[in-house]
């Protein structure tokens, strides 16, 4: 049912209205749009929705941190403590500050289909492909899901500098300025996430590439009818783009981009599946034979893999991706080390999905050109409640990729019960705090990615926080050692 390339070109040329829809989606002119600073690299965001409990994600197994951990996380019914036996097979490096040994949650080596396994994020860590960045947050943290998510998505703790635009969106608007038909970003969901929002460049929201085709009336379909429909459709949408109402303009752009993209993106599904090697990997994401991970995170990452493969084959040119996993707001029944616990299941899903995705990328030969960033809006309270955890402050982020310098970065939050703030959360400790427990501003991570992975000046996207006098961000000091040369 997908429109053929020839039909598309015909539609495109008929749409004379369309500087808007010039057929840049194909051929060399489209590929030339690749000259944005990210070059031939890719950037994938994985958002953990709900506030992931960082303390049961990167867990102290020794040193000064362990007794503090055990005093906050109990045992017995509802207890959330991960015992040393639970953590025996998921050790990672030591906390840079205290030297305390650390481990990942045991779910990060399991398979969500039941196997205890030796896969997941921990396997990638052992290959040196994962940077664990502890204690990421911002001063004067908020415990509102909405506000904290927006802070991470806009890159602005004041929530005043960039209403309605995300940090990646602002980068895309700069990097793809003047390329109104470029599709640099795809979000695997129903709507464009705030991280990717901006006003200039188009970001697609795609749930499944296979279904991303324009629904024509198949009973009365013909090339000439499609041409006529598309011409009128494009004229109405072009008119809306020059309207006065912001919503009208937005729909004008979104509709025109959607129609144009339906000509190119559905084919990426079959392009991937028709390649025997890719097809074999594809089964590891969904419910193929043998049964793959088959969770929403893996199925969403499969769509990313198809689009990256399509970009590699010159069909499209999409470099930025967004996927999410939900269910992290574990106020109750969080579960500790048992394999059927909520938090265990979430980590097993994410870890196994990322492992399949990374292996697929490695097989494509692009793993060194992909960076995956995992974040959540906040962590959770150090002291658990009956059987869950309430909203907290700083938490870990992950970077994953062939050129990511694996290891542990950032200091573990100071979970000493005597040092928690009045709300029972770890304090954000500013740069230069004299006890060594400095927190990591999440914008240090963003800035380093912008600086080193996207090769742009982070200050074109982020505004330094003037409220923190210990900060003196410049282009060059967004410079965490997170990437290999």
């Amino acid at each position: 049912m997908a429109i053929t390339r020839r039909q598309f070109l015909k539609c495109g040329s008929t749409a004379a209205a369309g500087a808007l829809l010039a057929p840049r989606l194909f051929g060399s002119s489209f590929v030339q749009d690749a000259l944005a600073a990210i070059g031939n690299r890719y950037f994938v965001v994985l958002y953990l929705d709900g506030g992931n409990d960082g303390l049961n994600t990167v867990v102290p197994t020794g040193g000064v941190l362990r007794p503090w951990y055990e005093s906050a996380r109990g045992t017995g019914a509802g207890g959330l403590r991960l015992e040393l036996a639970d953590l025996a097979n998921t050790a990672i490096g030591n906390d840079p500050n205290t030297g305390s040994s650390l481990a990942l949650h045991p779910g990060f080596r399991a398979s969500p289909t039941g196997g205890a396994g030796d896969g997941g994020l921990h396997a990638l860590y052992q290959q040196g492909k994962v940077a664990v960045i502890q204690g990421c947050g911002y001063p004067d943290y908020t415990l509102s899901h909405e506000d904290s998510r927006l802070i991470f998505q806009t890159g602005d703790p004041s929530l005043s500098l960039y209403p309605g635009t995300g940090w990646i969106g602002r980068h895309l608007a700069d990097a793809y300025a003047g390329q109104s038909t470029a599709i640099p970003g795809v979000a695997i969901r129903n709507s464009v996430p705030v991280d990717f929002r901006q006003s200039a460049t188009s970001v697609l929201a795609v749930r499944r590439l296979r279904d991303f085709s324009f629904p024509y009336d198949s009973d009365y379909d013909s090339p000439s009818e499609r041409t006529a429909r598309n011409t009128a459709f494009n004229a109405l949408h072009a008119s809306a783009q020059s309207g006065v109402d912001p919503g009208f303009q937005y729909i004008g752009t979104a509709g025109a981009t959607t129609l144009a993209s339906t000509a190119a993106y559905p084919a990426l599904h079959s392009l991937y599946n028709n390649n025997p090697t890719r097809n074999a990997f594809g089964k590891l994401y969904d419910n193929g034979t043998p049964a793959g991970v088959n969770r929403s995170t893996s199925r969403d990452l499969l769509e990313v893999a198809k689009t990256i493969w399509g970009t590699e084959q010159g069909m499209v040119n999409t470099r930025f991706f967004w996927v999410e996993n939900g269910g992290y707001d574990t106020h109750s029944d969080q579960g500790a080390g048992v394999t059927d616990g909520q938090h265990f299941g979430l980590h097993a899903e994410v870890g196994a999905s990322l492992k399949v995705f990374y292996d697929d990328l490695a097989s494509m030969g692009v793993a060194d050109r992909v960076c995956i960033m995992v974040y959540s809006e906040f962590s959770r309270r150090i002291e658990q409640n009956d059987n869950g955890t309430d909203h907290g402050s700083q938490g870990p982020m992950f970077l994953i990729g062939g050129k990511v310098a694996g290891g542990v970065y950032g200091n573990h939050p100071r979970i000493d019960p005597a040092e928690l703030d009045g709300e029972g959360n770890t304090r954000y400790r500013q740069n230069g705090s004299n006890d060594g427990y400095e927190s990591t501003d999440f914008r240090d991570v963003y800035g380093t990615i912008l600086n080193k992975w996207m090769s742009v000046n982070p200050l074109t996207v982020l505004t330094p926080d003037t409220g923190d006098p210990t900060r003196n961000w410049t282009t060059t000091n967004f410079n965490m050692p997170l990437f290999l040369p």
Binding site: L143, S191, V192, L204, E225, S239, D245
Partner: protein
């Protein structure tokens, strides 16, 4: 400057009916204009409905979803359905966490009962609503394991909001904890009746809130004194509703008014508009908390009618929610989906709830406690394709029977002029005023483009081009707006 005594113009009548309902009844427009009705009289007519209950047949998610959808497709009091939608979004509760459709049904009935009534009483009822108690973990809140979820959201989402109009915090984490203490031990029994399990309740008499926000001063307010145990959760709502912005105006009244304006009117209303509809004197919203009075002030305000009636799409438009888009379209084109899954006679036979899910709105399952994201967040390539897919299924529904799309019953087949046909279709779809001449020309060209001479009596031509013209209009940017 107009007010409640201004005579309603035809453009204003259409605007008011579309914003407060779904399809625009031509009969009502004619009656109102012929009678020289005022804005105030029109608002009173819309607001006079008797709240209607909600009793679905069956206890599955599908049953309650489709029951509500059918309500919207049939109702003569469309404003009630819009209000219940608003409150469902405001007190967002999702069935995937609540689990029991019966509890969702009871909450929906509660929202119907209070939809235009006493907002403060509604919040107090929500305190004790079993679906909310599940969704926001009140049932898991105990003196030995404080769960802050409801204590936070009752302030952030149901009443105060995070910041006041001057940008100052309205509450602190300390206030969340104190309010969470009041809700410890609240459970519901097998008859879904709420009760206080005293062994789980924190009876401490030192529950004090708002020492550092609002107008209460450093001593704050001790709401324990208003009663111990059961009385605390009402007392705390009374305190919240007294909260004042930095400039002394009511925080809850302003925030609620703003959200209702944004829902029925336009995004980002100026503060003056908000304060006007909160009102002054004994009838003010912060005195009565009666929603219908607030709505009347919205529906009679000049700012509500900005953007009504200009040729083409003026500013101050709002993007139709998916449920509004679907219900309005089906009602306007007089199509009744069939079967227990509410499918259309053609297309892919998708259940109507699957169409809506693709567009980003599943009733009884908002994406989170924040409800749905409005305005341009409704629009993406994925959700637009879902809207287009619904349009395709609808305009290709030719299988016969009462659920078919029958453009021949909507448009005079004797018409031969392309411009006349375009005007007729735009009028049927209720968007005649929203299209410029250039846009109409593009549609007229479609009727002749790639086809022979215009002949609506010819089955092949009509099935292709008249149905196609309807599809283009329903897909158009202007049609996505209210």
């Amino acid at each position: 400057m107009g007010d409640a005594n201004s005579t309603l113009s035809e453009a204003e009548a259409r605007h008011l009916l579309r914003r407060t309902g779904f399809d625009v009844s031509e009969k009502t427009v004619e009656k109102w204009i012929a009678g020289g009705i005022t804005r105030g009289e029109a608002a009173d007519e819309l607001l006079k409905f008797k709240p209607q209950g909600f009793k679905p047949n069956g206890n599955s998610f599908e049953a309650i979803h489709d029951k509500w959808l059918k309500f919207m497709l049939k109702t003569k009091a469309a404003l009630q359905e819009k209000l219940v939608l608003f409150w469902h979004d405001h007190f967002a509760t999702g069935i995937s966490k609540v689990g029991d459709p019966v509890l969702m049904t009871k909450q929906n009935a509660l929202l119907r009962q209070y939809c235009k009534g006493d907002f403060k009483a509604l919040v107090k009822a929500i305190n004790r609503d079993p679906a909310t108690m599940e969704y926001l973990d009140t049932v898991r809140n105990s003196k030995d394991g404080l769960n802050e979820n409801y204590g936070r959201e009752v302030q952030e989402l149901f009443t105060l909001g995070v910041k006041d109009s001057a940008g100052n915090d309205t509450y602190t984490q300390e206030d969340i904890v104190q309010i969470a203490r009041a809700f410890t031990g609240w459970r519901y029994n097998e008859k879904d009746e709420p009760f206080l399990r005293e062994s789980r309740h924190d009876f401490g008499a030192d529950k004090v809130i708002y020492k550092t926000t609002g107008q209460f001063g450093p001593a704050g307010v001790n709401f324990t004194a208003a009663g111990t145990g059961e009385g605390e959760i009402d007392a705390v709502i009374d305190v919240i509703f007294q909260h004042r912005d930095t400039d002394g105006r009511s925080t809850v009244a302003r925030r609620t008014a703003r959200r209702l304006i944004e829902f029925f009117g336009t995004p980002n209303p100026p503060l003056d508009f908000v304060d006007d509809v909160v009102g002054t004197g004994p009838e003010a919203f912060d005195q009565t908390w009666i929603v219908s009075g607030l709505l009347r002030r919205i529906f009679t305000h000049d700012d509500f009618y900005l953007g009504a009636g200009a040729p083409g799409v003026a500013d101050h438009k709002s993007i139709a929610w998916p449920i509004d888009y679907v219900v309005t379209t089906l009602r306007t084109l007089k199509i009744k989906p069939k079967g227990k899954d509410l499918v259309l006679a053609g297309g892919e036979y998708f259940a109507m709830r699957d169409h809506l899910s693709g567009m980003g709105q599943v009733l009884f399952e908002p994406p989170s406690v924040f409800g749905w994201d409005w305005e341009s967040s409704w629009i993406s390539s994925a959700t637009l394709l879902a809207r287009y897919g619904f349009v395709r299924d609808l305009t290709s529904a030719r299988d016969g029977g009462g659920t078919s799309f029958r453009p021949e019953k909507l448009v005079d087949l004797e018409l031969t002029d392309a411009d006349d046909i375009v005007d007729a279709v735009l009028a049927v779809c209720g968007v005649a005023a929203l299209f410029t001449n250039t846009e109409k020309t593009a549609l007229a060209n479609y009727l002749t483009d790639g086809a022979g001479p215009i002949d609506l009596a010819d089955d092949d031509y009509r099935n292709r081009k008249l149905n196609g013209l309807f599809a283009l209009v329903l897909e158009s940017p202007a049609y996505q707006l209210v």
